[in-house]
Each structure stands twice: as structure tokens, then as C-alpha cells.
Symmetry: C2
Subunit: 162 residues, 2 copies
């Protein structure tokens, strides 16, 4: 069970975007350089974030990406769902309907108990991600950061805009 790398990238990037002056955006190339990730692939991830309404894009010269909502209105679950899609991690293949003792379709109105159990755990997982906002992650990161580090980033970002 692996979470896509794009989730890590997207989350870090979303913690950086609020450092921008209002109305401006950061290009994919700048973001890719900031975190040393492949630009063409990152571009795909940013498009997923945009379709999910987490970031918005400005096309053309001087364009780029910026947050579409405030960090407090973005949860980690939003990011996971944007990058990985909505399908649950546990895939029930209904093997209870297989084999010599398999149940008939009509006897399977209720979900399989095994699938239910894993589904419930996954619901709890998603609730935990839903309860964690980007804002709270940023706040924690700012508190723990080496003094001046956030300012360094903000300055570097500013320089890229010119």
C-alpha cells in the first residue's frame, strides 16, 4: 500500500503558495526547481489540484498557480483525493460469490463483512486527514522551522517573480 509521491509534493507546494503576494502565481518550473522534482510530471499533479479546486491557474506570461482557498479551508484529505482519486484502497472483489459455496448475487445485498471492516478503517483514516488542515500543518512547520527559514523561502520566491 503506497501513497503516490505526488501527494507529498502537492502538500509541500501548497504550504509554499500562501507566501506569494496576492494575485500572483508560481510557475510549474519554479515550483519544480524549489523542490527538485521533475517539472513535466509535477505539471500533471498541479492540474489535478486545479481540477479539485485546491489551486487556480493563470495562463500566459506571468501566470502560474496559486491557492484557490485559504489554507484553513484545505484539508489533507482534499489533497489526497485530488491526487489519488476517490476510489478506496481496499478493493472488494466479492470472492464470497466465488467457488463451490459461492453466494448468489441476490444474496449479497449487504456489503461483505470483510470489506465493511476494511472500509470502516479507511473511513476513520479519511476522517483523520479531513480534520487536518493545510493551515495547521503550516503553523506547525513555522513553529518548528529554523529561524528565518520561511523568510528565506519567501525571498527566493519573490525573486523568481521578477
Amino acid at each position: 500500500m503506497q501513497i503516490a509521491k505526488g501527494v507529498e509534493w502537492a502538500t509541500h507546494i501548497c504550504t509554499i503558495l500562501p507566501l506569494l503576494p496576492p494575485g500572483r502565481g508560481l510557475s510549474v518550473d519554479v515550483l519544480a526547481e524549489l523542490f527538485e522534482v521533475p517539472s513535466a510530471y509535477l505539471s500533471k499533479q498541479m492540474q489535478l489540484l486545479r481540477r479539485a479546486g485546491i489551486v487556480e491557474s493563470v495562463r500566459g506570461k506571468g501566470g502560474g498557480y496559486r491557492l484557490a482557498r485559504t489554507p484553513d479551508e484545505i484539508t489533507l484529505l482534499d489533497i489526497v483525493l485530488a491526487i489519488e482519486g476517490p476510489s478506496p484502497a481496499f478493493r472488494c472483489t466479492e470472492i464470497r460469490q466465488n467457488g463451490p459455496c459461492g453466494l448468489k448475487r441476490t444474496d449479497c445485498k449487504r456489503p461483505c463483512e470483510v470489506a465493511s471492516a476494511f472500509g470502516e478503517a479507511e473511513r476513520i483514516y479519511r476522517d483523520a486527514l479531513k480534520a487536518r488542515t493545510l493551515g495547521s500543518v503550516m503553523q506547525e512547520a513555522t513553529m518548528n522551522a529554523k529561524p528565518g527559514h520561511m523568510i528565506d523561502i519567501a525571498n527566493w520566491v519573490q525573486k523568481q517573480l521578477a
Copy 2:
């Protein structure tokens, strides 16, 4: 993020094994037939369960697999860890150390806040799986099952032993 199919198979199989007479085991071929899953691959999954101490194997003629503990002493987390291994789903690649504003290794004593947030959600997920025993899943399945279905399975299993 996908959970291996083997987790589904293993869980269903572990709910069947307690139907065996004490001291007997079911062969991989019989188990594979019961659920219509590929026998050679299932064999690998059963070996993983054995190494995790969830089932025990008896080699040679008349041998097979049986539970190594009571269903109440086996949790869904045990099965997931046995099949998927212990590594967490979220992989932190320390991208905070990358790029022009990257932190130095020595400034990264604490875990990254992004990784911590996802790690905490995963801890909650695992706790949920740990709280769910095979016994409780079996109990629920028995209550919801079509009357006589468990007996059908038990009878079919008996027949295979002969």
C-alpha cells in the same frame, strides 16, 4: 493507494479455517478452489501468513494450513502487516532538503511536519485495524449470512478432507 488483493483473500480464508476439525489443515489447492483464486499465488500469501505466525502449516500428505491462534487473537492489522509488510504507506522523501532553499541534514532532526501529519493519520488507521479481530468479523458474518450458508461451507470443507 491500493491494498493488495492478498489481504482480501487472506482475510476470507482466515474466517474459513476455524471451521476445520481440530488438528486438521486445508491444502492450498482446496482453499484456492473454494474462492476461485490462483493456487500458486495464494500459496505465496499463505507462506506470508505463516511467517507472521497467523497460520501454521503441516507438510506432507494430509497436511495443509490451519490457524495458529484463535480468531480473537488475530487482528486485521496482523493480516495487513503479514501480506503487505511493515513499511508505511506515506513515504517521506525529505524534499524539504531539496532545492535552493533546502534545509541541511543537521537542521532536520525532527520529522517533517507534512510526513508527521500523514503518519499520524496512518497510525489512526492501523489502530482501527488493530481493534478489529478476525473473531468479530466472523461473528458479524455469521449473523448476516443466509441461514445454513456457514454449514454448507463446513460440509464442503469436511468433504475435501476425506
